[in-house]
Subunit: 280 residues, 2 copies
Amino acid sequence: MTLHTLSTTRSHGGTQGVCTHQSSVTGTEMTFSVFVPDHEHGARLPVVWYLSGLTCTHANVTEKGEYRKACAELGLIFVAPDTSPRGEDVADDPDGAYDFGLGAGFYVDATEEPYAKHYKMWSYITEELPGVIAEQFPIDMARQSIMGHSMGGHGALTIGLTYPDRFKAVSAFAPIVAPSQVPWGEKALGGYLGPDKSAWRKHDAVALIEDGARLPALLVDQGEADDFLTEQLKPSLLKSACERAGIDLTLRMQAGYDHSYYFISSFMEDHLRWHAARLG
Amino acid sequence: MTLHTLSTTRSHGGTQGVCTHQSSVTGTEMTFSVFVPDHEHGARLPVVWYLSGLTCTHANVTEKGEYRKACAELGLIFVAPDTSPRGEDVADDPDGAYDFGLGAGFYVDATEEPYAKHYKMWSYITEELPGVIAEQFPIDMARQSIMGHSMGGHGALTIGLTYPDRFKAVSAFAPIVAPSQVPWGEKALGGYLGPDKSAWRKHDAVALIEDGARLPALLVDQGEADDFLTEQLKPSLLKSACERAGIDLTLRMQAGYDHSYYFISSFMEDHLRWHAARLG
């Protein structure tokens, strides 16, 4: 596996990298960013996975997420993958909509054509990229955690719930908690996985919990001025599911905050400290 | 004076605003950003002016500067103006170069045509915008400070040296310290002010110090991996001038850091704390 380093930039007492590699899972070149704090020679650091939301690439959180200072202090490697395969032969939304296709992989392995060829973000994030990361960076793969925003919050929750032994901490900013029940998710899961809703349940955090998935704890921040709150995000569904399942959910409704990186960056440090405490 | 608010967004326990107004000085609509921390009703807060570098608008530092957390903690209003007039009838560099014209006002009042009509950034920043800010935001105008990056570091140094009683603190990231002696500055000062170099001296920090301008202290961070260090920035010229003048310059050469916001954001908090200590 050949990794191409597009850039490395010193920042906050560490190195911000941007890399590409040819993915055998998506069949495309994939880009991700990785921040590595300064560390002693031979040390292995825990890693925080950050999954981004609709329309984003690796670059949004890398530029606006304000995670580097806390990661440097806490000794956390921070990995931010892209949100979909990209390239000329990668099928997009037929109407070019922002909420499906390019920039909107929804962290599933598509089974429906024409998306099944490249849209394999579940396998990319859970299988291939961890191998790349483990090989190339000084990471202790026994200490991983995962977080994400919006569609990426959905990804973090579903991946975290599916691999509770792999991730020591799971948190989200304004996640899509029940995609099967909201327009964004109905479109995406229907488009990628087809009309049989039974196939959707393992890609729906609330359904996963209903079906028995468990985590010791979850941290979720949600802006109360988020335009997508009532139609697409519905954190109350996660709250109810966690209450029924005995999952220790800390759901913080943040007055006045919207869906943007102005919101995410405000609470990024809190999340990283919460992760660090669980990563040991 | 009518101020139009383009956006207000809650972030880090304050409000990030972006505003426009019709400038009578530049004859154009001007955009700036302003972060106002939460504060007690009736309180007046100190203000930090941030002047941006070549190619930037207000947006670069607003998105990537990582200043909001520290400003909220320290109770500092943070104002980031644009770097030039803009509009269809605003003359640009004849070749569309990045280092003159649009995005490159160099914080001077142009006297040369066709730039003299709109390029009045010195008067805009030192006269008109302070009036707008004072009228519209809860600022204690007796407590102002100024900082900037690259071309904006040049602006902060020259404005700070010209108005030592107005600004309680002056600092810079990778400033152009002696524009009369480097290609960026020779092109810009020549283009805006004409060939008579005596007119350049009040827009050259090193020349201002040589001509008697004084400040109690200066803080400058400079990345050692900055591609512009040896040809355009030349901090040693500032160091020598400050030594001769008895100005207490703290010049920190930062190993490995470049000219980007990855550098600026790494040391922004240090600068804001340095400013806050002097703003009282």
